[in-house]
Amino acid sequence: MKTPWQIMTAGDWLVVLLLLGISFTGLLWVATTAEGTRVVVTSGGQTSFTAPLNQPRTVDLDGPLGQTHLVIDNQGARITGSPCPRKICISMGTAKQTGDLLACVPNRILVRIDSPVGEEAAYDLLSR
């Protein structure tokens, strides 16, 4: 019996490489665009608030400068109001994919999207 590389034509190699390419591109795409399930807020290095991404709510987050308003709705999480001078966090838009960040540096607030698995995912809402 001939070995696979004795049988495979140039067309076969093209097909195999194409399919490999598609699956790797897809894997990369999944890894980078997977929709997150949880919003995690860190202020001053400590996790101050976590909430599921699929439940709409509005939260006021306390920071050294004042309150930062975070809105979670079906489009994702976004900051709608902040006491910081340049409002960069508001212009960062909406975060919904795993790994997305919204940062309000002057108010020391960091909003992060993740997708916890296992025991961690069991928490519905955590507030400290």
Binding site: M1, K2, P4, I7, M8, T9, A10, G11, D12, L14, V15, V16, L19, L20, I22, S23, F24, T25, G26, L27, W29, V30, A34, E35
Partner: protein, 199 residues
């Protein structure tokens, strides 16, 4: 046993039916035996039954390939007690997309694709059909497409393996007088075979 007074076309058709029946039997056997093997993930299988679909496609035509794949899905599910279960619809959708893709690509590419290339395309089609059915029937959420790349990756290897095995089997079968392609124009080889078989 009478061998005379049989029209050549009739004989060709009867021979084709007998071989297709044999191929279905082998495909069903491979399919059922394969489900007995342990797998890392429930629906990650080798798809050895596809060897017979490929053999039918190369020895005969697209219609023969349809016969093998659809009969394999139906009889296999019947034997395993899965007829009309969700798993059956997934398998049927996978087989339909895979067979369509293999037939079309075989027709388009001709000899430029060996059974390995056709099998790889069939494997990808099988994955696509299964996830499509799963999306519609089992998990009605777009997130199911996220497993597609991983699925495609693993299925590629099983596709190459079954294509290679099919190619080895075809190499043997195509030398056999019963499968000489030119039997319609030049009956000598096939008729010799039949006469030898009849004596």
């Amino acid at each position: 046993m009478t061998c005379s007074a049989v029209e050549s076309a009739e004989l060709t058709r009867a021979r084709r039916q007998v071989f297709l029946a044999l191929f279905i039997a082998i495909a069903v056997t491979l399919h059922v035996l394969e489900t007995l093997l342990p797998t890392p993930v429930p629906w990650l299988r080798l798809g050895l039954a596809n060897i017979m679909t490929l053999v039918a496609l190369y020895l005969y035509d697209g219609r023969a390939a349809w016969t093998i794949s659809l009969a394999r899905v139906g009889i296999g599910a019947l034997l395993l007690g899965r007829l009309f279960s969700p798993g059956f619809w997934l398998a049927a959708a996978g087989a339909i997309v895979a067979t369509s893709a293999m037939i079309v690509m075989h027709r388009v590419a001709g000899r430029r694709l060996s059974p390995i290339g056709i099998s790889a395309i069939g494997a990808a089609g099988h994955a696509l059909g299964q996830i499509l059915a799963a999306r519609l029937l089992v998990i009605q959420h777009p997130a199911i497409w996220q497993i597609m790349p991983l699925f495609l990756f693993f299925t590629l290897f099983s596709g190459i393996l079954t294509g290679w095995l099919a190619s080895g089997l075809l190499e043997q079968l195509q030398q056999h007088p019963a499968f000489q392609k030119n039997e319609a124009d030049n009956n000598t080889s096939a008729d010799d075979y039949v006469e030898r078989a009849c004596r």
